[in-house]
Amino acid sequence: MKPYWVALPLLAMLALTALLWRGLALDPSLVDSPLIGQPAPRFSLPALHAERVVSEQDFRGGWSLLNVWASWCVSCRAEHEVLVALSRQQPELRIFGLNYKDQRSDAVAWLERLGNPYVESAVDRDGRVGIDYGVYGVPETFVIDASGTIVDKHVGPVTWEWVRERLLPRLAGAAS
């Protein structure tokens, strides 16, 4: 009879296999943001439409979304109608845009064609503010509470599913 501890390496292998199996289901392209729970990073950028400066101070006083978008971004088109509808359905929620590495004229034309859900868009011409926000792809959307703290980040196009399951519960929770 072999002693019981001969089985230990096999058990260790099975445990490792289970762990790696679980890992296959994870998506490594979704990088966790270290900014969640932190105040929105400071910035000061020209607005796309108005003659003014947009800064992180604009987020205070109510719930906001900061949506990173660009006219050259194909996936942004997919989420745009969701944002436009959301801006109408949830007037309390201010949707800000971060126009990332884009041309002003292209950006303005794009919004004219597809609709403008944004209270205002900040023009991040060289992407420096994007780096401060840990942006690595477009589109990305940050959920910011009334105190100016980032509470969530969504990488990729915003979907109705995300709105239903992640965004609205937060807004409802805050309102109660």
Partner: protein, 149 residues
């Protein structure tokens, strides 16, 4: 005089940047240590993604501004998390990652060594020595009875 001025003009860009060989070496080393978040299997040194270019510029600017390697690393991880470091840091949450393979190897070796020294836990009992008298009596009885079992 004119030639002197022209010479100074040509040399000026090299002097103004004040980018030493040491800076270049640090820059190159840093680029190998940081991951491109877009092409996630490549470092900033290898990736041709636009974000990689932006981040390379960031690293260059920071070195020029006199920041240390540790400061540049923490700048990146503050924005992108630990994943931006190509080599995972050794923290409590990554002990299993770093030490796991060695632990498994050690476990395997220990089991192997112990198996060689103690091949069996319960040895089989030695058979009794045959009882010669009893054997003779049995054989004699079988001969008389004419049985052959």
């Amino acid at each position: 005089m004119i030639r002197l001025l022209i010479l100074c003009g040509l040399l000026a860009p090299g002097l103004a940047l004040a980018w030493s060989d040491a800076d270049e070496a640090r820059y190159r080393a840093m680029l190998e240590e940081l991951r491109c978040l877009v092409c996630q299997n490549q470092s900033l040194a290898d990736s041709s993604a636009e974000l990689a270019g932006d981040l390379r510029d960031q690293v260059r600017d920071q070195i020029e501004a006199g920041r240390s390697d540790a400061e540049i690393r923490s700048y990146m991880t503050a924005r992108y998390g630990d994943f931006v470091l190509y080599r995972p840091p050794l923290k409590r949450s990554t002990w299993a990652l770093w030490l796991g393979p060695f632990a498994l190897l050690l476990l395997g070796l220990v089991v192997l060594l112990r198996l060689r020294r103690a091949p069996s836990a319960t040895p089989r009992p030695a058979p009794d020595a045959p009882d010669a008298d009893a054997l003779r009596r049995i054989l004699a009885a079988e001969e008389r009875d004419g049985t052959n079992s």
